[in-house]
Symmetry: C2
Subunit: 462 residues, 2 copies
């Protein structure tokens, strides 16, 4: 009995001391990763090139093609085991001429800033002038029914400022942008104007994808986002009803062209022990066209590239296969994510982990995980390793649009969670430019991603 | 025995359920505080006024006087129980004309951006031209000794980018600014140029206080900060030694005038149960002169004012006396903090808690506490209440320069810890302007401060 106890204690101690050794080694490795990213990282210089030399890169555009070529060329410089392109068919929507809009009242005309929503049709060439009616929700349009006929519907429910995570405020409001024109069109409205998805009051209109659902051609109406300043002004005029007659004029020449070709850009380091277990890290290479897409999602692209670069630079030989994917066409179709998942199915590849960065290049706060309970518990053990880097959020729920189709019962999807406060100041607008990204914040994000990938590679999943 | 057990269990259950009720009530209260700050807060509008209508407010300046009058007037509008000014004698240093500087080489002259350090003397009227020698530390000057005689010493040790908290990177470098001229002056150097305390490479020089210590008048030499871009350029020229002859020219007309008068601005709400237990919240009203002092420390000022305003608006009647102090002259003398502490001593007031916000108006991450073990443990209980607001850091070590003199063995000093990544881009430079402060980040800070003050007021300290 005594000897069994002794043996048990021996193995227990051996286990604990092995765990301690692992902890120490991991802690040292993370410190090296953060130091390398902050002192000789490449993410910021890459972002500078992507943003300032290539710029906004909507799916199907010339810049989209340039971005694909650039991504492939840069990955090829890293000495990975393999770099390739995966063809993706993408929608090809173009904005056309810069949009025009004004509030027309019996007290004068007032220019406001708008931008067509992605997927919208154009107005008539001469523009569209009509009465405008303000609503706060899709349901309100349903209740107004025929009363919106012949009018422009103005969706003006602001993002709720009391939400701490701005993504929740966005989620609580974006139905207006995505479905406003669809619902208003059903009732015979002639246009839909949507308050920009931003918590800041300024003159930037914010674009984004919309859908006509199964509306008939007749029920498809042009739709645009108005800046928050413009929305406030328009709403003020509309409150003066009776004394002030208010109409709205807008003109846009956007169009949906035939589908185009783009590519996912993929690079990998073959795993030394379990090459068939694949770990993916990625962001999306396409962006909207108004800014240069630095936060959305240039940041996620260069951080994902930096993960593999840091493995090479720090000579960390992965046990499992690490793959970086620069996904095509997240913004208006998700063609890249779907094409990648289809190839995974076809080739019967086993993806154990997929990490996406698509929430801006801000100070990283942690991760959101979509996985089973066992893995969630497994991952929580690593939390203390991240404390020195002020990474505290290891929460449930997360991933990303591009990696979503990779979900299996037993794998782990995760998304980087940067600080969200400033994101919607820039998102999908002309304000999303290189200068809005902070070098250290971007680099901390890249280091945080590299660190968790290092741990997933070393310990696998349950 | 059985009945004793029953009674014990009864009281235990009663205690637990009372604790649960408290937790629920506190949780609701914090939610109300955050919502009020984010949806109808006053901090941002206050900061707009202080930054854009009053601007940079160096101790003893006209703007400093205006800021005092503004602070008092605004506090008086809040319906506090008492608002008063406390006289403070402050140093009166003035910058004079805009500084000029250039690198003079046999290949041409190159203008660079500098600013005099606070407390520095002027150069001769015509400026100062001399050979310049680069060093990385004070110790290196000691080892060079007489070799710096007649020369300008260029302190060029960069802030270490690998530190996660930028305040630590600052702490590791700022001895060059504070003591560079003192040490170089001892060995007969004629000037000291210091690389700006910033992790960003740009053209902003960053000022800040310096000291001649006990140097004789002869050993006092003019000193200025050079922008990081300027420092890099200068260092590159100096590396070309032999081929390139490099001298440095600078001209500044700053001077130390006789002491001036300023004031601490103080407002309080009398405690309903323990009026003699005082809880202080504050920041410093003075700032450097190059920007408008929005982050340093306009943010801390308006957040501190917001704490008392939110108590009034939400009709939270404090049990203890809450006091807001807008401290004078933190930047170059700490006159305000010292005068306040002296009055506390004199009036035999009991300060149980003092909270300072002086680390910029960025997303709050938590607090640093200086207190005994018992209180540190007591405070940790509140941590879960802050989780929904992404406040995770409840660390040891913290407070602030102004509240430092209030430390007792049994009280609690604490400092708000905002995200530190961007702070030194702005600190003490012309880049520290209103536009650099994000509305929501500022408001989250104010709510976080109000929440912890609410808890300190409700539960007291151990």
């Amino acid at each position: 009995m005594k000897s069994i106890l002794k043996i048990t204690i021996f193995f227990l101690c051996a286990t604990i001391s092995a765990q301690q050794a692992d902890y120490k080694q991991d802690s040292t490795q993370l410190r090296e990763i953060y130091t390398a990213s902050l002192t000789k990282g490449k993410s910021y210089a890459w972002l500078n090139y992507l943003s300032n030399r290539i710029g906004g890169r909507l799916a199907g555009s010339e810049a989209d093609k340039k971005a694909v070529a650039w991504g492939k060329a840069e990955l090829e410089k890293l000495g990975l085991d393999k770099v390739w392109l995966q063809p993706v068919t993408v929608p090809h929507w173009v904005r056309g001429e810069k949009e025009e809009a004004r509030i027309e009242t019996n007290h004068g005309k007032f220019k406001v800033d708008i931008c067509a929503l992605g997927g919208s049709i154009a107005t008539p060439k001469e523009g569209l002038l009509a009465e405008i009616i303000e609503v706060k929700s899709l349901a309100e349009v349903d209740s107004l029914g025929d009363k919106v006929k012949g009018k422009i519907v103005f969706f003006n429910r602001a993002m709720p400022a009391e939400k701490i995570e701005t993504f929740r405020a966005y989620g609580a409001s974006v139905d207006q942008r995505y479905s406003g024109a669809r619902v208003a069109g059903k009732y015979g409205a002639v246009g839909a104007i949507v308050r920009s998805m931003s918590l800041k009051i300024d003159n930037y209109p914010h674009t984004g994808v919309m859908s006509y659902g199964d509306n008939t051609e007749n029920e498809k109406i042009p739709t645009a986002a108005i800046s928050t300043n413009g929305a406030e002004l328009l709403s003020t005029f509309l409150k003066g009803k009776g004394k002030i007659q208010t109409k709205f004029y807008f003109k846009q020449s956007c169009q949906n062209l035939p589908d185009a070709q783009s590519s996912n850009v993929i690079g990998e380091i073959k795993g030394s022990e379990f090459p068939n277990e694949i770990i993916v890290v990625g962001g999306h290479l396409d962006s909207w066209d108004l800014g240069d897409g630095s936060h959305d999602d240039g940041a996620g692209i260069v951080q994902s590239m930096e993960v593999l670069r840091l493995f090479k630079e720090l000579k960390i030989r992965p046990k499992r296969t690490l793959r970086v994917v620069l996904f095509a066409n997240e913004e208006n179709g998700l063609g890249g994510g779907k094409a990648y998942a289809a190839s995974v199915e076809k080739n019967n590849e086993k993806h154990i982990v997929a990490l996406e960065s698509d929430a801006g290049g801000f100070t990283p706060r942690g991760f959101g995980f979509t996985c089973n309970d066992e893995n969630f518990e497994h991952i929580q053990q690593w939390k203390p390793l991240f404390e020195p880097y002020n990474i505290h959020i290891f929460a449930r729920g997360g991933g990303g649009a591009d990696i979503g189709p990779l979900k299996k019962d037993d794998n782990v999807l995760l998304g980087l969670r940067p600080d969200s406060q400033r994101y919607f100041d820039f998102h999908h607008s002309a304000a999303d430019v290189f200068e809005a990204v902070h070098k250290r914040e971007l680099e901390l994000g890249a280091a945080t991603m590299t660190s968790i990938i290092y741990l997933f590679d070393k310990y696998g999943i349950k």
